[in-house]
């Protein structure tokens, strides 16, 4: 009902939003529901995540955005009481049914969390550890990748002279950017970001936004944000979640501009005009 998606492969339509590379589904979500300990919190979400595009998800607190994001990289599997149904098509596989190597999958689908969570290691080790884990044996290669990731998030200049110092000593904004770099260093295909800027000041937030824009085309990005202005600035596609009787639903999904300027659903309209972004 809520799928206001242009017919695929029509670049004309997509161009209505912020320019985006290939309107081809990278990840297809079909009828996905999430429940915790038998209590449903998210019901029957269906949408496509487009390759190389930025998809923003908005909605009030508790409507299941984080839960939705965590199903995409199967992180919900590790939450004991979580149960997910539906289909998640990625690379001709149904992630929810077929046997997948989760470690490899998560290398391909990276995630950044709302609270910066750098490991209590040095800055360098924070980036080296995932690389080593994924079998990047060569020291030189690692060095190159780490430097590139730090440059991508604009942290290189700020920390290149103290890579051995603890990551926890960085400021909040720097920590968040480090976490993004940690996800980027694995060169994922899809990057899931859960309110990456909520702990940041406008400048740091601006840096991250620019970074996300620069990632467009190279990466597929799904971003949850409370900042509607940000969603509007960044996204090619946007989804609006709402909660009725404590169960979250995807109310509307469509091109970012459409959703913000000509929302179909009354709820969406109310949220967008009422909420103070």
């Amino acid at each position: 009902m809520n799928r206001q998606i242009p017919s695929p492969y029509t670049l004309g339509d997509v161009a209505l939003g912020v320019p985006c590379c290939v309107p081809e589904a990278h990840l297809q979500v079909k009828d996905v529901s999430v429940s915790y300990g038998g209590k449903k919190v998210l019901s029957n979400v269906s949408l496509d995540i487009y390759k190389g595009c930025i998809t923003a998800l908005i909605g009030p607190s508790g409507c299941g955005k984080t839960s939705f994001l965590s199903t995409l990289n199967l992180l919900t599997d590790h939450s004991e009481n979580a149960h997910v149904t539906g289909q998640l098509l990625f690379d001709d596989q149904d992630l929810l049914r077929d046997p997948v190597d989760k470690l490899k999958l998560r290398r391909r689908i990276g995630m950044v969390f709302q609270n910066p969570n750098p490991f209590p290691l040095s800055i360098w080790r924070n980036l080296e550890l995932p690389l080593k884990e994924h079998g990047v044996r060569d020291r030189k290669t690692r060095q190159v990748k780490i430097e590139q990731a730090l440059k991508d998030v604009g942290l290189w200049d700020e920390v290149h002279d103290r890579l051995a110092s603890p990551a926890l000593a960085l400021s909040g904004g720097q920590q968040q950017r480090l976490c993004i770099a940690r996800a980027l260093v694995l060169e994922p295909e899809i990057l899931l970001m859960d309110e990456p800027c909520s702990a940041l000041d406008p400048i740091a937030s601006g840096v991250v936004e620019e970074l996300i824009l620069r990632l467009r085309g190279r990466y597929t990005v799904v971003i949850v944000t409370h900042n509607l202005a940000q969603a509007r600035r960044l996204a090619n596609y946007a989804g609006f979640f709402w909660m009725t009787e404590r169960v979250g639903k995807l109310v509307e999904f469509g091109q970012c501009r459409n959703l913000f300027e000509t929302p179909i659903h009354a709820l969406t309209a109310a949220y967008i005009s009422g909420a103070k972004g």
């Binding site: 998560r106 990276g110 209590p120 110092s165 603890p166 990551a167």
Partner: protein
Amino acid sequence: MADRLFSYLVFGCALLVVALLFWVLGDVVIEGSRHFSWQFLYSAPADAGRSGGIGPILVSTLWILLIALGLALPLGLGVAIWLSEFAHQNSHFANGIGISLDILAGVPSIVFGLFGNAFFSIYLGLGFSLLAGGLTLACMILPVFVRTCESGLRAVNDDWRRGALALGMSRSAAIAHILLPVARPAIVAGLILGIGRATAETAALLFTSGYVDRMPGSLLDSGRALAVHIYDLSMNVTGGDGAAYASALVLVVLIITLNTWAQSLVDSWFKRRLLS
């Protein structure tokens, strides 16, 4: 005002603990140093321990400790990791293991001794030996070590677990590189409680590592532990008090050394990886 009172109470507590410790150890230090000489440390006991020293006993004690810790440490850490990282929160099995550990912590040491004798010495054929003693001790310190480590691991921030998972890191890597180093203080606390329990044990060792005060030639030899020696001298050997106090003094110094060593060992082990 009430705050002041509370401070006094807290300081009072600490002072009382210190005072009690000094009171308990007062005799040990005074009587012990009267009987102590450097020779006491390395010579063999004579006349049922009244004279001579504690050389062989010290060696046996260290061997037993080494076996017990060498076994209980990896085993205990493994169990603690399983309980906190792998077990399902409300599974009956994990709960059962938890309760088993608590029960094991309450089994009287003499029962451990008799069990160790029946199982290790007789059933497994180890006889009265350092090995049997060390194994029995390992069983004894396991519960307290596991429980302390487990609490420490559970207290580690979930954000790091989540972060590691989202990076496609294996659970094992997250444990080795992040969780264990972060839980270091609890591991030290568990280790120290374990060392304490092991050095203090009498009854369990009497029935397993035995009473022989000869210098042990191998791990299958019987050897008398320091706590057993102290027990024998103070309770069973007339006129053994002086030597008992001196042995207790050596034990106190040994504990302090071991604690300091354990602390720095664990620190250096984990801190290299961790900067906080």
